[in-house]
């Protein structure tokens, strides 16, 4: 519309005025923003910069490589294996269920695995990688990698995991590792931060647990720059950790393998010891189990199977199993009598097959009796009456003292779990634990290793080594690599003439026609052994059973039969090796335990395999068959991987 000049002027004025008002408002608002900028960027910038650094820098622990556990020759008993695993990140995956179901078509995944992965993912922040499957083969991992486009958020990764290449062989000695539990953490005052790394594993039993500090090493750390979804962009700096130290055991992997195979089918234990320094060459407890199952996380079905097995595979019978030593204890009683001076060892005692003591009849194992026996023949023929007599003369205190001197009833400090002390019964012990005074019958029972006496196979091996050397042999399981020499062993100071009698008795046990282990003798030169059988009663055959016709051990149910024991050392003239064998409910020591002790001894003396020539000629055909069959089951030499170090 046409406007007058006055109107134009009015319009111009109004607009100018309002433009200036508007401009002032703009200036005000802009000043406000400038003030805010100044406040944030100049006054609070330090604080914000700190927040930005926190955002971008992430400290990560680098788990150390666990030390190896090696046998005496450097064979790997516990090693680390590279394993491939698949991890998944929630925020990259999108539809978790879809991705997991696709993954299940490529690699074996159980419902349990999928459920666990989903739970882990929901529990963690979305960018935290969660392991779905571990220990995949190269083939499986390549399948995952090849299908990566269809699997958003899934990455194949490589990690280290514990592996026991000899599987069941050293399960009881080496033990196994497992994930850190709440209980493990509570037990520590200031837990190593490395324990909080998800899926970090620590020793749960055996050497793995007892030598944890040496094996674990120290964690390194890595500062990385991460982006907003937690992905690592670059490494800023890195402090390398220290790998764990290797632990060298005294165990000989081949001998251990042989011993365990020799025990197959029995619930039994065998200990092989180098008598010169106490090195434990084999510590076999059969049946054993595969420790790799525990590393992977054992299924409850497998675990229950192990737990409910009558032969108790989870128990390390060599150090945990406590057995009445039976006749293998007779050396202790004999030495106690000699030490007490109640016999010169040459006098004879008449054995009519039994002895009546304070109104109770104690039987000899041979009902008909042994006739007149001296100390040597009492040992070799295992006459009970002789020791009933000697124990009454010297008393329990002397027996107890000698037992301790020979290494029984002592808890040895070995780096394995649950080492038992056994039991050397004393008068005080009985008063305290049974609330009754010691009676002469208790002494008589103890004299033949029955009654309250309990020993472990390890202790029996120590005893045998001490008898063979007259030195205070101490068992040793870990070799300090710096100290390869023999440990200084204290003298036992048993009189040589006493030991001559004992050793003669043990010699005749094996090598005399009337000895209880004559059928297990060794004929090879320089490998002849001495030993002692033992049969310890677990239950006596009841009157009712006797009346129903049960006379022999084989007729009883397995778990009521006697334990069979055998201890031996060899070579006779210059002992190197001591062996003890316990076969739970094996029946008789001479029939069940002695052949095992002989074979293990021969394997120890001959680097892994007994030579056929060491056996008496008439037995060779049968033994050859047995050995050939066993050789099939043993590890081949190439299975024993040596550590490069």
């Amino acid at each position: 519309m046409k406007r007058t000049d006055r109107e134009k002027e009015l319009s111009r004025r109004t607009i100018s005025r309002r433009a200036l008002v508007f401009g002032t408002m703009q200036l005000g608002l802009a000043s406000g923003m400038l003030w805010r900028l100044r406040d944030m960027q100049l006054n609070q910038s330090e604080q914000f910069r700190l927040l930005a650094e926190e955002n971008r820098i992430n400290l990560r622990l680098l788990p150390p490589i666990r030390g190896l556990i090696l046998d005496r020759n450097g064979v790997i008993l516990a090693g680390n294996e590279q394993n491939y695993r698949v991890v998944i990140k929630r925020d990259d995956a999108g539809d978790i269920d879809l991705v997991l179901s696709r993954l299940a078509q490529l690699i074996p995944l159980t419902e349990e695995d999928i459920e666990r992965a989903r739970r882990d993912m929901l529990r963690n922040r979305p960018f935290v990688p969660v392991t779905v499957a571990e220990r995949l083969s190269w083939e499986e991992i390549s399948r995952v990698a090849a299908n990566a486009p269809a699997l958003p958020g899934v990455t194949p990764e490589m990690g280290m995991s514990r592996h026991y290449p000899l599987r069941a062989d050293t399960a009881h000695v080496v033990g196994y590792v497992g994930p850190v539990s709440e209980r493990d953490l509570e037990a520590l005052d200031s837990p190593d931060p490395v324990l909080f790394i998800p899926r970090f594993q620590i020793g749960k039993s055996g050497v793995e647990r007892m030598q944890e500090d040496r094996l674990r090493g120290r964690a390194g750390s890595q500062r990385v720059e991460v982006n907003s979804v937690g992905r690592v962009m670059r490494e800023l700096d890195r402090v390398e950790g220290t790998p764990g130290s290797n632990v060298h055991l005294t165990i000989d992997a081949r001998l251990q393998n042989f011993a365990l195979e020799r025990l197959k089918g029995q619930s039994a234990a065998a200990v092989v010891m180098d008598v010169s320094n106490g090195d434990i060459l084999a510590l076999a407890s059969g049946p054993s189990f595969d420790p790799n199952l525990f590393v992977r996380g054992i299924s409850s079905r497998d675990f229950n199977e192990l737990l409910n097995n009558d032969y108790r595979p989870l128990v390390n019978k060599t150090v945990q199993g406590m057995y009445p030593p039976g006749s293998t204890f007779k050396m202790v009683t004999a030495l106690a009598a000699l030490d007490a001076g109640v016999t010169d060892g040459r006098e004879t005692v008449f054995c009519p097959g039994h002895m009546d003591i304070s109104g109770h009849r104690f039987h000899c194992w041979r009902r008909g009796g042994h006739g007149r026996v001296g100390m040597v023949s009492a040992l070799s023929e295992s006459c009970d009456v002789y020791f009933y007599e000697m124990s009454q003369r010297c008393g329990i205190d002397k027996i107890n003292e000698m037992s301790t001197r020979l290494g029984l009833g002592i808890r040895y400090d070995l780096p394995i779990t649950s080492v038992a002390a056994g039991l050397n019964p004393t008068r005080d012990w009985k008063q305290a634990n049974r609330g009754a005074a010691w009676r002469v019958g208790d002494t008589v029972n103890a004299s033949i290793g029955q009654g309250f006496v309990l020993t472990t196979p390890l202790q029996l091996a120590v005893m045998t080594a001490r008898l063979a050397t007259n030195k205070a042999v101490l068992p040793r399981l870990v070799r300090d690599p710096l100290d390869r020499g023999n440990q200084e062993l204290a003298q036992l100071d048993l009189r040589p003439e006493w030991l001559r009698l004992i050793r003669q008795g043990m010699n005749q046990t094996v090598n005399d026609r009337r000895g209880t282990a004559y059928s297990s003798r060794v004929v090879a030169d320089g490998q002849v052994m001495a030993g002692k059988t033992g049969t310890s009663q677990v239950f006596s055959i009841s009157r009712a059973e006797r009346e129903s016709g049960i006379r022999r051990q084989e007729q009883l149910p397995w778990n009521r039969r006697n334990h069979a024991l055998f201890v031996n050392y060899a070579p006779l003239d210059n002992p190197r090796i001591a062996v003890s064998v316990v076969v739970e409910h094996g029946g008789g020591g001479s029939s069940a335990a002695a052949p095992i002790g002989r074979d293990i001894m021969l394997a120890a003396l001959n680097e892994g395999m007994p030579p056929l020539s060491a056996y008496p000629a008439p037995q060779r055909n049968r033994i050859q068959f047995e050995l050939d069959e066993m050789r099939e089951r043993l590890h081949r030499p190439e299975d024993l991987r040596l550590s490069r170090a």
């Binding site: 519309m1 406007r3 109107e7 134009k8 002027e9 009015l10 319009s11 111009r12 109004t14 607009i15 100018s16 309002r18 433009a19 200036l20 508007f22 401009g23 703009q26 200036l27 608002l29 802009a30 406000g32 923003m33 400038l34 805010r36 900028l37 100044r38 944030m40 960027q41 100049l42 609070q44 910038s45 604080q47 914000f48 910069r49 927040l51 930005a52 955002n55 971008r56 720059e225 991460v226 982006n227 907003s228 979804v229 962009m233």
Partner: protein, 382 residues
């Protein structure tokens, strides 16, 4: 203004128009755009692709477009204002019925090879329509209630159509541009007092309606409001953007962390770092110096435009420029306030700097109109 008023003796014509162009304004616009190129180059990790190069090309095209608009006589723009406004409304309705959906909103209209965003167009045409309206209206009737209702309708129809898409940011800018024109035209103060009063009432209503059947905003918009009121409430959720933005901005300090050294942007802690949050990256990498200098450049652009307003007697031209300035000011003010944590997160980019073609085109067309008003201004009798 009509052709009859066009005084050939006072108005520059032909190539002489180039001399009368507001060159300082052109220079300032180029400088601001350069800030954008530098930041887009930095955010891409030192690369012209994918953002800096297309942005430069668009800016070049936009600049040409601005000159074309600037040299076109102002009366032409006045005469097509009404038509442009009606076409815009039709396009907005078209979006309503045939629009394509992207990012949770219906904003684009695809006609053959063209992808139009009519809401951007509405920013300009609404201003033009209101400027024509007040140029036509009798000065004495400016504050008449009916006249005010008429102006409100002109502004409100496109605002409501854009709100329905929904695009809160653009709707606000259209309303702001329109509001400034109405304000400059001389409508009585009382109306603005009433408007502010009712705005408070609306805010209350919006907040009250949450969770009821007649909820006025989308849930995500409410969450943004919550996050604005207390960003630390949910640092990984709705407050995440504001928190990270403030960390980046604050950590810049006096002179910044250096070109291409901003960790927050480079490591993706910043959302939308090349569009809505580009100012944060600038503040992080160039610090207070970089951020405040950009703010000053913006203010100088506003000042130059206001100077044009003061120097013209042409009512249409003055109101048009006021509208463009109002729109432009609110544009960068809302964006900056948002990244500084002074305003809720609404999807408003930083004008001339953020990556995005159509928004920059529309801005440059707007400044073309400012230039046209400048060149073709009715000069004061000296």
């Amino acid at each position: 203004m009509s052709y009859l008023e066009y005084n050939t003796r006072q108005m520059p014509a032909g190539l002489r128009k180039v001399l009368y162009l507001n060159w300082p304004l052109v220079a300032l616009l180029i400088m601001v755009a350069c800030y954008g190129f530098v930041m887009l180059y930095s955010i891409a990790g030192g690369s012209l692709t994918p953002w800096a190069e297309p942005q430069m090309k668009r800016f070049g095209i936009g600049l040409v477009l601005m000159f074309v608009v600037a040299f076109t006589p102002l009366w032409f723009w006045r005469s097509i204002a009404g038509l442009a406004y009606i076409i815009t409304l039709l396009l907005l309705l078209g979006v309503e019925f045939f629009g394509t959906v992207g990012m949770g909103a219906k904003r684009w209209l695809v006609i053959g090879p063209l992808r139009l965003q009519p809401s951007e167009l509405a920013k300009i045409t609404t201003i033009m329509a209101l400027a024509v309206y007040y140029d036509w209206l009798d000065l004495k009737k400016v504050s008449h209630p009916l006249a005010v209702i008429g102006a409100t309708l002109i502004a409100l129809v496109p605002v409501l159509l854009v709100l329905r898409q929904p695009d809160l940011g653009t709707a606000m800018l259209i309303a702001a541009g329109g509001g400034v024109v109405v304000f400059a035209a001389g409508v009585h103060w009382g109306y603005f007092a009433a408007l502010i009063g009712s705005a408070i009432a609306v805010v209350t209503a919006v907040l009250q309606s949450r969770g009821t059947e007649w909820q006025l905003l989308k849930d995500y918009q409410y969450r943004r409001i919550d996050a604005f009121l207390d960003p630390t409430l949910d640092p990984l959720g709705a407050g995440y953007h504001i928190n990270q933005s403030m960390i980046a901005l604050g950590s810049g300090g006096w002179s910044g962390r250096g070109f291409m050294e901003g960790t927050q942007a480079r490591l993706n802690f910043l959302p939308e770092k090349h569009t809505d949050f580009i100012f944060t990256t600038l503040a992080e990498e160039f610090g207070f110096v970089g951020a405040s200098s950009l703010l000053l450049l913006y203010l100088m652009i506003c000042a130059l435009c206001l100077l044009t307003v003061l120097r013209t007697t042409n009512r249409f031209g003055a109101l048009l420029v006021m509208g463009v300035v109002g729109n432009f000011f609110l544009y960068f003010a809302v964006n900056m306030a948002m990244v500084m944590g002074l305003a809720p997160v609404v999807g408003v980019p930083l004008p001339m700097v953020s990556y995005g073609g159509s928004a920059m085109m529309v801005l440059l067309i707007g400044f073309g109109l400012v230039q046209s008003a400048h060149i073709h201004r009715a000069r004061l009798p000296s």
